[in-house]
Symmetry: C2
DNA sequence: CCCTCTTTGTCCTGTGAGTGGGAAAAGTTG
DNA sequence: CAACTTTTCCCACTCACAGGACAAAGAGGG
């Protein structure tokens, strides 16, 4: 099949495509209810979408008391690729035009191997997904990278944890390789977009999405749009000082949040506790695997291990303290916690909530839910698909 | 003269009005260069503005090499009222449609006296300005209050420092009294809008405006728009914890930024230092006036008093630490420092800069000016006038 | 099964916004 | 005074869109 090359010709068509994407198949009449257009104009625009192949007819809709309407849906053969490059692993997924995940692969991998090696991996994963018959090609791809991105150009800038990526033309290179349009963004921003599209943040216009993985970052959504800042580094909260004169951090300062709590810091603390004999549970796991991760700490905590619980609580307090400051500043309507350490679950959440509710003013916290992300590892790839579909479903 | 009641009938007219407001008198041809409309259409819309009296003809423009053009300007009889209610004083100013200040009054006053007493004062100041012949009436008024505001309704909500104002229908009451449209916002947001309209932040789309007066607040401008948060309390950074287990604050917590550095805290510290005999300069001023304010500290510092300088530096460090966190989070293109304590000048600025440049990542601080506000006490009233003019110069 | 009512889809025309060209008016420059 | 510019006014033409008329298709009642 030839890939779709059409783009909406005007704002109406773009609007219709987004309605179909977010609301699934719809009858012409239902579309008419949601959009402010005369029936004649609507019919013309829908016909154009059918002509260009962006949408297709899909049988008859149920009757609403009169003549039955024809259903319209986005072309079911459209395929988006969502790529979420984390610090230690890559997620690649294929979605249809409604951003439903049709296939999803995850592989451990170190970003520090550099863009060339990583993209080789990504492309082979994409090829594997294609080989299963899920897709014959891709109409667009969204890529998330764990660092700041100059958004318009799709180029990482000065990424602390991924040297070698600085200035690498990710967007252009992948667009060339995949033969389709590509958009690049920070992985945390994509997670926020994912949760907003299909997760807990559906229909919330102002919220924060804190991702605690190997590092810590924060997606900022203001007025429905992602705020990226002037250099694309907005949300980079890992190096906010959480502890005056605290631990040294890789960035050269002391007391950075990331140095005190993150997947990496937690693992280090756990190993230390195990070696000092503070926790049998952790020691046993260390002996078994030779190493510890956040998952081990979560398991130990679930088993009631006091040391593990204390580690989580202390970390939660640190993060909560920073989030409390951000809540006072930003006054969001929701805070979503996501990333690798969400396995720590309720213990972590409780510690964070305690800090935030205690330290921020009642007006800001009064009706502020602080919840775990709903989509887990798929948030990033869904957000990536959403990014490119937003781009492609806008007037050219 | 009857007040203008016309409003722009469409987006083109609104656009033209804003061009005339921000760019001053302009010829039709110059307007044509700035707006994407055919000459014929432009002529029609300009004529309508002239008909409704929103704009007037204003002589001939200089020739650009051919026939001379007629100048168009906003009706010079339009008057906006800008009101900036601070914790301890009120500013009231009259502007023309181009937001130039024609008259400005300032009076000490305590907000805690409640809305009725304050508005009596404001109305009498407005009447005084009117009596000078500057205005025969007002076409709109913008009001800034020192606390969170539910923006669409123009009602203060749960303002910590102004009990008695909670839920008071400021917008409606003043609209009734003044007989013109009124908009209400947080005073810090208005300061940000003022600096953006006519001060250092001209043409900066993403910046923070930190106002250090009796308390501390922060105006947030993202993508050219003020971010107010879901409950209108965004930017309320005075109660972010700056010192773990620090001084008790009126809010019930400990270590709030505001408890450690603000006009009020600085005055308290200065008195304490004077009484302990740490500073002759401050002691002399205390003896002379019976009290000390930020102005005294500034004067003492200017005279080289070591204690005063130390107080300023320490305060600057505290604020700088918080701003550093906000810079990491928000990634602004500019930070403006304003409010009553700007008299502390370079010493304060240097302390803040040091902290921010040290604690935030280079990508965020690389090209980040941190400067004093340019407009001083007029920022608030200009912002207020801007607020109402933005409202009135939008399609109805 | 027939009749009426409702909903959906199509066609057609009127309207108003907006564009673009040309001519007249009003300048400047040499 | 002639040649050239710029502004302004006027007019015809295009285009998007609304809204009504009408046909098609189905539901439901007698």
């Amino acid at each position: 099949m030839r890939r779709m090359t059409a783009r909406p010709a005007n704002a109406h068509q773009a609007r219709l495509l987004k309605l179909l994407r977010d609301g699934g198949p719809n009858s012409r009449a239902q579309l008419g209810d949601q959009i402010d257009l005369s029936r004649s104009k609507l019919a013309v625009e829908v016909d154009r979408l059918l002509e260009t192949g962006l949408a297709v007819a899909d049988g008859l809709a149920a009757s609403r008391g009169g003549r039955r309407s024809h259903n319209i849906r986005l072309n079911p053969e459209l395929r988006f690729l969502g790529v979420d490059i984390g610090a230690t692993s890559v997620d690649v997924a294929v979605t249809n035009a409604e951003l439903e995940i049709l296939g999803h692969l995850n592989q451990p991998m170190d970003v520090r191997e550099g863009p060339v090696a990583v993209f080789e991996q990504v492309l082979s994963m994409a090829a594997k997904l294609r080989a299963t018959g899920l897709a014959e090609g891709f109409d667009g791809a969204g890529i998330g990278v764990p660092g700041p991105v100059r958004f318009p150009e799709g180029v990482p800038v000065a990424p602390p944890i991924m040297p070698g990526w600085d200035g690498f033309p990710v967007r252009e290179a992948l667009s060339q390789e995949l033969g389709c349009p590509v958009m690049v963004d920070n992985d945390v921003n994509l997670m926020a977009m994912g949760e907003r599209h299909a997760g807990v943040a559906r229909s919330v216009g102002d919220f924060l999405c804190v991702k605690i993985g190997t590092g810590i970052g924060c997606g900022i959504v203001a007025g429905g749009d992602v705020h990226r800042g002037v250099t694309g580094s907005a949300g980079d909260i890992g190096h906010i000082q959480a502890v005056p004169e605290g631990r040294p951090c890789a960035c050269g300062n002391r007391g950075c949040l990331e140095a005190h709590f993150s997947g990496a810091a937690l693992a280090r603390d756990a190993v230390e506790a195990a070696e000092q004999g503070l926790s049998e549970e952790l020691a046993a796991r260390l002996a078994a695997n030779g190493t510890l991760t956040a998952v081990d700490v979560a398991a130990a905590a679930a088993a009631g291990d006091a040391t593990a619980l204390a580690l989580i609580r202390e970390g939660g307090n640190r993060v909560g303290q920073v989030i409390a400051a951000l809540v006072s500043f930003f006054n969001p309507g929701l805070v979503v916690i996501g990333g690798g350490v969400t396995g720590l679950g309720h213990t972590l959440l409780a510690a964070i909530r305690t800090q935030v509710y205690r330290q921020s003013l009642p007006l800001a916290t009064g009706n502020l839910p602080i919840v775990l992300g709903e989509l887990g590892p798929t948030a990033g790839v869904i957000g990536a698909a959403r990014l490119i579909s937003d781009h492609l479903f806008s007037p050219a």
